[in-house]
């Protein structure tokens, strides 16, 4: 199929600033779609259609033009949080071609002399600011698309709350246009009242001495989570996630999620990783949700009620963690049946009943059995001791 649709990225200067090749593409179109602001700069002779909202309406507009020479004008690089990404979910790859313009990220890195390959790039445009959380690390540099100056205010508040108040925020307004303006302030002192609403935000993270270090590597401190006491302890959590092996886009079922720590750390460890937290006690749903927001994984899904019934109707997992009621054969069988071939299952037990079930399952399905014994610093009177916790039996197996 030949491409009937071209998505052309433009800068602040609009179509007039395009390369001759890109301008030829725009000139050959019968219909041009885009935001009104970009269409205003075009000459006569071609049909111009402004985007309608919502998104479903935009998709209908595009699909109605199928087969006719059409151009979509978009700002920056359409493949970077842009319309090119969205349309690839609705149109076959052969239907359209993309001609990028330097993105807001490229322009910002150029102004700041930042090494773009070492910068975290994310979109906070119309999305949860919570997604910024995993990137708040000492010395880390972040470029973020914003909704408006309100994004800057909430990012500054988040940085202060995390002990990163000395971080430098640089606001790059109207990048690439005649009204380009760049200003900087610390997260502690920023005043957003003088800012416009069309800006890219650069964050140079500076950690305070007391700021907790929360890296994406599993094994966050237990006190990074809100909990009613039901949480997989740090060392065991790290050992469990190592065997669950998160990777980009993979889906985890965390069955018996408690405070949600396993699912949340799974999502932090790999790009676009997803998790569903199954928890019997509905009162824990708000605890899991709070932890997910605090730790930057608002995309977690939480399902209440009794397993295995609660597992039905959910998408196929790439990995399963069994953290509660491990001896329950019905839960194991349902989760094992749902797991995709090649997927991993990790189950942790502290009870004799749980251990017995794991030994029997290992006999049938193979996999590794590990005993994890952790002791922690405590005292007896004036003396110090290393006090053992209940040993954890861990079974890790890959489904054939």
């Amino acid at each position: 199929m030949t491409a009937w649709l071209n998505i052309v990225g433009v800068g602040e200067g609009g179509v007039a600033d395009l390369s001759p090749a890109a301008r030829a593409i725009v000139g050959a179109a019968a219909t041009i779609l885009g935001p009104q602001r970009l269409l205003d700069g075009l000459g006569e002779g071609q049909e111009r259609l402004a985007w309608q909202s919502p998104l479903t309406r935009m998709i209908e507009q595009v699909q109605a033009l199928a087969g006719t020479p059409t151009v979509i004008l978009a700002t920056g690089d359409p493949s970077w949080f842009g319309i090119g990404v969205t349309l690839s979910r609705y149109l076959p790859a052969g239907a359209f071609a993309i001609t990028p313009h330097p993105s807001a990220f490229s322009l910002a890195a150029a102004r700041l002399h930042w090494a773009l390959q070492n910068v975290a790039t994310l979109s906070l445009h119309g999305r949860a600011d919570a997604a910024l959380q995993p990137h708040i690390l000492p010395g880390n540099r972040i470029l973020a698309l914003t909704t408006d100056r309100g994004t800057v205010a909430s990012v500054a508040a988040m940085l202060r709350a995390r002990g990163y108040g000395e971080s430098t925020l640089t606001m790059l307004e109207n990048l690439g246009g005649p009204h380009e303006r760049i200003s900087s302030a610390s997260a502690r002192q920023i005043d957003v009242s003088q800012l416009g609403d069309f800006l890219t935000l650069a964050i140079d993270c500076v950690a305070g001495v007391e700021a907790p270090l929360l890296p994406p590597v599993p094994g966050l401190p237990d006190d990074a989570f809100v909990t009613d006491g039901q949480i997989t302890k740090r060392e065991v959590r790290a050992a469990s996630l190592a065997k669950l092996a998160p990777y980009p886009g993979a889906l985890l079922w965390d069955v018996g999620a408690g405070s949600g720590s396993i699912g949340i750390e799974w999502m932090r460890a790999a790009r676009e990783a997803r998790a569903i937290a199954f928890e019997r006690d509905p009162a824990r749903a708000s605890i899991i949700a709070e932890n997910a927001r605090n730790l930057g994984t608002p995309g977690i899904e939480i399902v209440t009620g009794v397993a295995p019934e609660s597992l039905s109707g959910q998408p196929t997992p790439d990995a399963v963690f069994l953290g509660g009621d491990v001896g329950n054969g019905a839960i194991f069988e349902a989760a094992w049946a749902a797991l995709r071939p090649g997927g991993r299952l990790v189950a942790n037990s502290v009870t004799i009943e749980g251990d017995r079930a794991l030994f029997e399952r290992q006999d049938v399905h193979g996999g590794e059995l590990t005993r994890i014994e952790v002791s922690y610093l405590d005292s007896v009177g004036s003396r110090h001791v290393l006090r053992p916790r209940l040993p954890v039996t861990q079974w890790a197996v890959r489904k054939p």
């Binding site: 998104l55 999305r127 949700a289 899904e301 939480i302 399902v303 009620g305």
Partner: protein, 118 residues
Amino acid sequence: MKLAVGIGLSSRAEADEIVALVTSCLAGLRGEVEVVASSRRKAGNVALSSAAERLGAPLVLLDDATLARQDVPHPSRVAEARTGLDGVAEAAALHFGPLLVGKTKSAHATCAIAEIAP
């Protein structure tokens, strides 16, 4: 103020409609949406999960017993006939705290908002 958004929907609802409905219900409220809640019967509903993603809050799918425990002010005959439950939107929101905005409808979705009890 921490807010919980309860959502009921038919299979014809789209994410745009849900987000627009929730946005109109949130107008005038100062606070952050901390959870988007619905029924476990909606497991795998793409419109619901993408609406939650756009609202920036975890999606909580509550089981029937938890929803049935709530005393909803505006029960729905349709929902009751179909699921044996009163209106999902209010029940799902009420699980997290007292209602601020009662059931509000659009063509294929309903929304209610509660303040999350500390």
